[in-house]
Amino acid sequence: MPVRPGNERAPAAAASRSKLERVVRQIGHLLPAQGPINVFIHHNTLHAFEHLPFDEAVLEASRLFGCQPYLSEDRYRQELRHGRIHEADVNAVLAAELGPRADATVLANLSRLELRRRIAIFGIPQRHGPALRWTLEETNVLKRLRADLPAEAQNALGLGNPHNGGRAEQARYIRRLWDSCRRAIERAANVSPAVQPAPIRHRDLLLAAFELDIDQWVHPPLIRATSAFLDQGLADWAMPGRERGLYRCFVDLYRSRLARWCGPIGKELQRSLCAEHDEQQDSWTSLARSLECLGLAADEWEPFLRAEALALRGFAGMIHQFELRPDRVPARAVPAQLVDFFAVRLLILRAALSYAAPAAGYQGSLAELRPWLRNHLPQPPAPSADDRAWPLFHLAQLGGLNVAHVDNLNAEEIARVEAELGEFDQTARRRLLHRAYERRLRQRYFDALAQHRPQPVSKPAFQVVFCIDEREESIRRHLEEVDPSVETFGIAGFFGVAMYYRGVTDAHARPLCPVAIRPRHFVAEINTASASGLRARLLRLSEQVGALVDKNVHLGSRRARRGAAIFAVLGALWVIPLVLRVVFPWLHRALRRSYDSLQLRRVRLAIEHQEAQRPPLGEQVGFTTEEMTEIVFSQLAATGIRQRFAPLVLILGHGSTSLNNPHESAHDCGACGGGRGGPNARAFAQMANLPQVRAALDARGLHIPSEVWFVGGERNTASNDIALYDTELAPNHVHALLRQAINSLESARRREAHERCRRFDNAAPSLTPAASLRHVQTRSADLAQPRPEFGHATNALCLIGRRSRTRGLFLDRRAFLVSYDANGDPDGAQLDQLLGAVVPVVAGISLEYYFGYVDPTNYGSGTKLPHNVTALVGVMDGAQSDLRTGLPWQMLEIHEPVRLSIVVEAKTALIRRLLEQRAELKRLVDHGWVFLATLDPASGEIVELDATGEHRYVPEHALAVCPGSSRAHYEGRRGHLPFVALGAATARSNAPAD
């Protein structure tokens, strides 16, 4: 009986299949974790590297992704010149890094610390090969001393002041110095060229050896097919057979004879797909076969597939996200699988190689192509004498070594110097400078916190709870300045209410809670107004007609006949909205708002549990009393509000509106999963007002006096519009207070807009607060405005503690402020919850901004201007590119890339204990992804915690005091501002002596 050939290989196939599965899963972790763009979630771009210390992780990632780990050296030196970094910071960081090795003498009479300090501060220009030749021949480097030379080096060189010395003399001297450096190198031992490992992808080998980029053929069909597969409703026609997965869909589509026309590789592709179809494979076997065809051994699968995936990481990541979180897909689920993407990619790759290999002069099988290509790689040249003399030449100038010194160096000494330079290479210098850059900001923050005198409010007239977002820092400050009787709090802006929510005008329900939570509850907004009467009917009719017209114009504009009819007859009318929206956006906004205000709506949230109803999403409709009690308790218990409830408590969520901004959701509330937090705030207020909830809270020891009333609302962080909900339900005794609150919020939002306008270059510094408000309102309604607001840019700090610690302190919209009062939390249980919920979120925001800023083109998504919305899930650059998943430059522009400094107002011992319980948090802190410090609730002493232990902080500079309001401090200034105490605040006694 004949043996079927497949049978004996079955176990081997199963083993290789499971290995392949493991490989694909591993690669999935490295891909961008950004899901569809309509819900933008901030997270650590390098989440997959959190098991490594920060500095190792950024290097590893820069190797893998081809991205920058830090800012450029030049940028840091610019910050040094501008005083953003002090030399003292460089010295302090350097001393800490070197430890006992600092004092060893490396060159002449210079210690290692001194040598590195000079290199770090003054720098050695990076030049070699032709660029160095050009510099030597065409610039003044061999005619003059460096202009920025430190004075001690000038004196040591014996030239006195080089600016006064004779030009010719100086030129002769510098020429001799260069020659002696050249001679020194000639005395030294030879070095071999740095050996670069050969790239693993065929494409990189072909590019290096023959300047042939096969990605130009692989990517276009892959991008088109993938985005058609993922499309959420941008195209009229959906891809046929999507339900069978990308692989089958692609094979069926592109095996048609027409596909032979698909670019130069079309013929090869179509032929191989026909074979693929005949064999009826699935994507795993297809992938395994492709790997075999390409001559990849099992141990190469992981690095090879990883490199292939990273070449189009945006789309690969989006497929992966669709696979992982089908519940976050906006409109229609498609069976996306990463393995399908790989199988398709390798099929196209094989076709491209079959086409390209003969062009490069290769005739054999694809499996042998890579060894052949490796033999054709150009050899990197060894560094020339000039290349090696160049750093030495600069070192001589910086270190004050004269010609005689250099001539006396022997081979061993030169080897030592070169080793030192190798160790303190560009990356090490950038790391050092970056640490100094972060240190300065941290010191300023700690100085401010340690010295600011707490300003408690004994008997607040009313209280406002904001989100912890750093964009709320300014409005809280202004509100407190406008009305000193107000007390403010910060709670994560979903206010503990995790729900699917559908507004009365919404077509879809959406989750409003942090991404990590999948809500169980569904809450709808319902219209309780009677909808009869002529006016109501007319309005409804006008809305329906408007929607119908919009729909027909939207769809019709893409059709031939309907479009022709529309344009030829009505087209010229479009000049009206065109001029209105583009030239007079403020007018358009005003008209729009006055139309909207005609609406007669009386809406309520259906917040209470309805047993009988089935929710469209989630598990139950509304919340039970126990659930509501738990929510209110968990949110208020640790904030310190329980000791002194005011009769009126406002709960303000936040969101942001902007036009022409695919990243609109990135400005919304992170705690609401990139949604707007108004409904959450409103639901929370409604819950806290329910008598049965109050009674249950009493039983749990949280007493809310009966006269206290909660009102929910939402602030728009772009336009500064503030809406309060259900105010007509407020009892009579709070009416006066409510009016006071509304008035205070009104002036606070104007002042806040005024402060925010100082960061917008095209807002004149002379704007009044009222004009500033109009300015930011127009920004959020302007099609032409790529910067409706700056989002989280400039975030750098976080305080988990009482507001009294920061009240009256100008923190420049840079601090996440989380309310926590250690007095109400003796065992730290509330703090534990708070740390677990808050730290990953704020760390994610800060790190996403960090990476976006240090490498805007690779980690970020570059400038917004050419962005092109694709498949309604992401943006491409221009006509066709990979999906750009990071933050756009216009959101980052004014940021300072630093890791977040988190200060917790609690006992150090408590924090240590809590960290031990939360491994994920401890990893973030120990690996330096965030800085953590404690602020003693009683003594106000700051202790820094890191992997090496605890360090008591000693204030460096006195906290400046700015008499007057915030405006006096910021007015007329555009850049980042120092932290100051406002008003008549006096510094505490533990200020430093200076």
């Binding site: 058609a228 993922l230 409703g233 941008l234 195209a235 009229d236 026609w237 959906a238 891809m239 046929p240 057979g241 999507r242 589509l253 592109y254 048609s256 027409l258 596909a259 130069p264 409109a331 229609r332 077509a507 929607a547 729909k551 504009s557 893409r558 031939a560 022709a564 344009f567 030829a568 007859v569 087209g571 010229a572 009318l573 909205p577 065109l578 929206r581 583009v582 036009l659 022409n660 901004n661 695919p662 609109e664 270059d761 099609l783 032409a784 405005q785 790529p786 910067r787 201007l865 050419p866 092109n868 919305v869 694709t870 498949a871 309604l872 491409m876 650059d877 221009g878 006509a879 590119s881």
Partner: protein, 438 residues
């Protein structure tokens, strides 16, 4: 009245020209700052718009006879004259006014949109180049001025496609656009040369006016030759099939430049030219048939491809093509007012649609909220009419690029390499590229 028309028409051309000079001279040093560029651009464009509107109304109130305004002469050699003339009538002044209105709107948009962009000054210089080009094409009364305008539109368009110089894709696509434009320009140049050769001057007015029928001075064959060359020139510039492949590739530039070129003006410049020379084309049955064929093919192709594009800018650009095809057919049928209205309406609408293309998520969300349901309920969404081949054809954009590559580029390259081999054989053995580098 005529004097008023002449003065205002001159301002219409000269104001953008001054703007071009000033922005061009100051762009490298950023001398004027963003504010300064904003002010002079506003002033120049508003002045030109006001002038063109005045000229248009003055013309409509006058006796409505075509005005030929001689701006100057390049040179004259024996009986051949090379001159820059403006031909002013309702069509040319109307198109100029429409163009300037749109340029004003786009400039207002761009000041805010490109604020703080490194290429801000370059952008406004290239926009000024475009305004000069479009005004010249609109008002041209001689083939010389027409050609200059045509070239300026093409050059600025290619430069703006390649606006983002730090990535390779814009440069590649700009080159592609530019090469199609060269083809179109070559056709235009040939038409100009033939016109000069056969009539002795580049005066276009003889082609514009139907009343005097002076085109009869051309033989039927000559009419066909000039007409076909002009149609090829238009097909390249307006992305008619089979030259349509470059249009979605041109979406590399900043959104407002895509809007003004491929939504509003540049794409219609070809249609306008056809409208201008309609009397000439109408005289040749073959040219008319060619136009109808090109228009219908473009329209069908655009409608088909537009249905499956999954990125918003490609989808809009194919929707634009669909209408451009229809406009060409309307012109072929000898209509005048309808295509003009169609152009104006379409340009305004597409401009807004392109400018708000990044808003598509917001707009669709709002629209669905107002409709209370999904725009394309997944149950009803059509799936490529069930035929994968149709879908593939549309998804791969009708293989328009491959078609050109295989039908035109490959034979041309073969020809060149044959010539090259011949050259080497005859003249001398040149070192190959690799040898030279080492």
């Amino acid at each position: 009245m005529h004097q008023l028309i002449e003065v205002t028409a001159t301002i219409t051309v000269v104001a953008p020209l001054l703007l071009l000079l000033v922005t061009g001279l100051t762009a490298p040093t950023k001398l004027l700052g963003e504010k300064g560029v904003g002010v002079i651009t506003r002033v120049a464009l508003l002045a030109a718009l006001a002038a063109s509107l005045t000229a248009l109304f003055a013309y409509l109130l006058s006796d409505r006879r075509l005005v030929l305004l001689k701006l100057g002469s390049w040179f004259t050699a024996s009986e051949a004259r090379f001159s820059f003339d403006l031909a002013l009538d309702a069509l040319s002044l109307g198109f100029a006014a429409l163009s300037l209105l749109i340029c004003n709107i786009v400039a207002a948009f761009s000041f805010r949109y490109l604020h703080r962009e490194p290429g801000f000054f370059r952008y406004f210089f290239q926009m000024a180049m475009f305004v000069v080009g479009i005004c010249s094409v609109a008002l041209a009364g001689s083939v010389e001025l027409l050609f200059v305008g045509w070239e300026l539109i093409g050059l600025s368009s290619a430069l703006l496609v390649g606006f983002f110089q730090e990535r390779p894709a814009p440069a590649d696509n700009a080159l592609r656009v530019f090469s199609i434009y060269r083809l179109s320009d070559a056709a235009m140049l040939s038409a100009a040369v033939l016109l000069h050769h056969w009539t002795g001057s580049g005066n276009l007015t003889s082609l514009f006016t139907t009343t005097e029928q002076p085109h009869l001075t051309l033989a039927a064959g000559q009419t066909l030759a000039i007409g076909s060359l002009l149609i090829i020139a238009v097909a390249g510039k307006s992305a008619l099939w089979p030259f349509s492949g470059w249009l979605p590739r041109a979406m590399e530039g900043p959104t407002p430049s895509s809007a003004v070129y491929y939504g509003a003006l540049s794409i219609h410049a070809g249609c306008f030219l056809l409208l201008r020379v309609q009397p000439l084309l109408a005289a040749s049955g073959i040219a008319t048939a060619l136009m109808i064929f090109g228009g219908v093919a473009t329209s069908v192709y655009g409608a088909l491809s537009g249905r499956v594009q999954t990125d918003v800018k490609s989808a809009i650009s194919y929707a634009t093509l669909t209408q451009v095809g229809i406009i060409v057919v309307e012109i072929a049928f000898g209509l005048q007012l309808l295509p003009m209205l169609h152009i104006a309406g379409h340009a305004c609408f597409r401009l807004l649609q392109f400018l708000s293309a990044p808003n598509v998520l917001h707009d669709l969300h709002e629209l669905e909220n107002r409709l209370g349901e999904e725009l394309h309920p997944s149950s009803k969404q059509r799936t490529g009419q069930g035929r994968p081949a149709v879908y593939l054809f549309a998804l791969e954009r009708g293989f328009a690029d491959s078609l050109l590559d295989r039908a035109l580029v490959a034979p041309f390259r073969r020809l060149i390499s044959i010539l090259d081999a011949f050259d080497r054989l005859l003249v001398f053995e040149r070192p190959s590229r690799r040898e030279r580098r080492s």
